[in-house]
């Protein structure tokens, strides 16, 4: 860090002094960083990929499902360390002791390319993906922490690291440091996200040591098929705004809960306790019993959506992935790693083009945010930009009253006694309508949330 002051002395000639070893430095070898690195290395750029962990993926945590349409295009996907393909998606509402669920098993998902949806474990996957960048020509350095950016006047011209003589200069820096973006924030390239827009997530990877085949039996799986179960309601995360999940890996399952930090703070609801309660729900416990914890992990998720995306292009630097807040959570779709890859790809292309043209101004790099806006990444975030606020306003209804009402209504609808079904149906309907505020309330709610699925 000590070099920063001296190095910001402006040189009048204004051709910044680069080390000339690298065209670009990528901060962070997660999915966004490696996607950028492989894209640029393939275009012939000298790429330095810096990772603070002992290996790529060592500091990375996610729920469990990776969507791979872009990765498939970027690298030799056949060699990717995948756990299982997603053969079933299940959306489940949990009240205190009820479950109401919708399960989807389209036949098509069992056939290659499996809707490009796979469970992976990041330790293995990120290391493999970074290796693809290395094989394309990038230089990977691990156990090296970027502590700040080097400026020459307004221009970002390199990075400071914690290694001896750790200043490295290059014309471009890609900031792919994740949601805990200390470098970007420290350099005033983005604001710290408010806690209303950040979720805390905890996860356990569990194994079943007693016998083989437990995962296949419990989740009705054959071969490489797997499941992605999403849960919401008070049975999943108590009084918080968020949800729980179970994803099947090859020999383990990933079980976790994610909810707003604001709720963790104000409701004094600890992440560990929340995870424990989710795992002991009557509908969840049979799936996770007799398991042994292989790994416990945690992370924060930037969920500010479209409005929270910072300026993506700075003089000599771009921001990608979680650091750019590119995460989608609309209750049905939980995506982030695919958006990280997409953003890294577009940023990498823009920098490669700028390098080929010998230009480094923000106009050339402007291709990155322009392309990203045309891509599914920003399109999807904008499509659901209204949701966060709406769900927050309706949280008691959506997370508590409705899951209970649906469970009570189904109990009533299918009740076996000596009353005619007409009275059961009427009671069931009344239960749901009472929760929704009558037909008017139901119509308003349907109108408000129609865009989630239509």
């Amino acid at each position: 860090m000590t070099g920063t002051e001296t190095e910001t002395q402006t040189q009048d000639t204004h051709e910044p002094n680069y080390d000339e070893a690298f065209d670009v430095i990528v901060v962070g070898a997660g999915l966004a960083g490696s996607a950028a690195a492989v894209t640029m290395a393939k275009r012939g750029l000298e790429v330095l990929l810096i990772e603070r962990g002992s290996s790529p993926g060592a500091k990375n945590v996610f729920g469990g499902v990776l969507y791979t349409p872009t990765i498939r295009e970027l690298v030799d996907f056949e060699s990717a360390p995948l756990e299982r393909y997603v053969a079933e998606k299940r959306f489940s509402m949990l009240s205190h002791d009820d479950e109401t669920a919708l399960s989807l098993r389209p036949g098509e998902w069992n056939h290659d390319p499996h809707n490009d949806s796979y469970t992976v474990l990041r330790g293995e996957f990120d290391e493999w993906f970074a290796q693809q960048a290395v094989e394309a020509g990038a230089t990977l350095v691990t156990e090296t922490t970027v502590t700040g950016l080097v400026r020459d006047g307004p221009q970002i011209v390199g990075v400071e690291t914690d290694r001896p003589d750790g200043t490295i200069r290059a014309p471009y820096v890609v900031l792919a440091e994740g949601g805990n973006s200390l470098v970007s924030e420290g350099a005033d390239l983005k604001d710290t996200e408010s806690r209303e827009n950040v979720a805390v997530a905890v996860k356990e990877v569990l194994e079943f040591p007693e016998r083989d085949g437990v995962i296949e039996d419990r989740f009705r799986l054959v071969g490489d098929a797997g499941v992605a179960y999403q849960y919401f309601g008070e049975g999943a995360v108590g009084d918080a705004f968020g949800g729980g999940f179970i994803y099947t890996n090859a020999d383990t399952i990933s079980v976790g809960a994610a909810y707003r930090l604001e709720d963790a703070a104000t409701q004094k609801q600890s992440p560990e306790e929340t995870l424990n309660l989710f795992k002991t729900h009557p509908a969840v416990a049979p799936l996770v019993r007799d398991a042994r914890t292989v790994e416990y992990s945690a992370k924060t998720i930037p969920e500010g959506g479209a409005e929270s995306i910072p300026d993506l292009v700075h003089d000599g630097a771009v921001i990608v992935g979680d650091a750019a807040g590119l995460v989608l959570n609309n209750g049905v779709h939980l995506e982030g790693t695919n958006m990280a890859v997409e953003s890294g790809y577009h940023a990498g292309r823009a920098i490669a083009t700028a390098t080929e043209r010998g230009r480094r101004d923000a106009d050339v790099l402007g291709a990155y945010p322009a392309d990203l806006e045309q891509s599914f990444v920003v399109q999807n975030l904008q499509r659901y930009a209204w949701m966060q606020e709406a769900v927050e306003a309706d949280r008691d209804l959506l997370f508590e009253a409705l899951p209970r009402a649906f469970a009570d209504a189904s109990t009533e609808y299918f009740r076996m006694d000596r009353q005619p079904k007409e009275s059961h149906a009427e009671n069931a309907k009344r239960t749901v309508l009472d929760a929704l505020g009558g037909w008017t309330g139901a119509a308003k709610l349907a109108l408000r949330y129609r865009k989630v699925v239509t």
Binding site: K59, T192, T300
Partner: protein, 104 residues
């Protein structure tokens, strides 16, 4: 509705056992701190850092300044975002130290 009579027992590991599953390389000094102790002692009575922490790093104390068990840290950064006084010092542990997730 009544609770199911036979919910299988799920044995959750203790925090200690959970943290034991994670590889940790002690950097020797804390990557976490509070910026101004007096803010914790005088202004803060909610201890949000302790409430949100998934790893029992932040602990309430008598004098109001949290004790920091940094060697428990999973590097999720919840404390940094949660502190309403922006009073958390959070630095990346250097040269590969800190937590290593094998699976993630």
């Amino acid at each position: 509705m009544s609770v199911q009579p036979d919910i299988p027992t799920v044995t959750n590991d203790s925090m200690e056992d959970r943290l034991y599953t994670v590889k940790y390389d002690d950097p020797g000094e804390s990557h976490l701190d509070v910026k101004v102790s007096d803010v914790c002692a005088s202004s803060c009575d909610t201890n949000d850092c302790a409430s949100v922490c998934p790893a029992n790093v932040w602990r309430e104390t008598e004098d109001g300044v949290p004790q920091i068990a940094y060697e428990n840290c999973l590097e999720c950064s919840s404390c940094r975002f949660a502190c309403p006084y922006d009073n958390v010092v959070w630095e990346y542990p250097e040269t590969g130290a800190g937590v290593t997730f094998k699976h993630g």
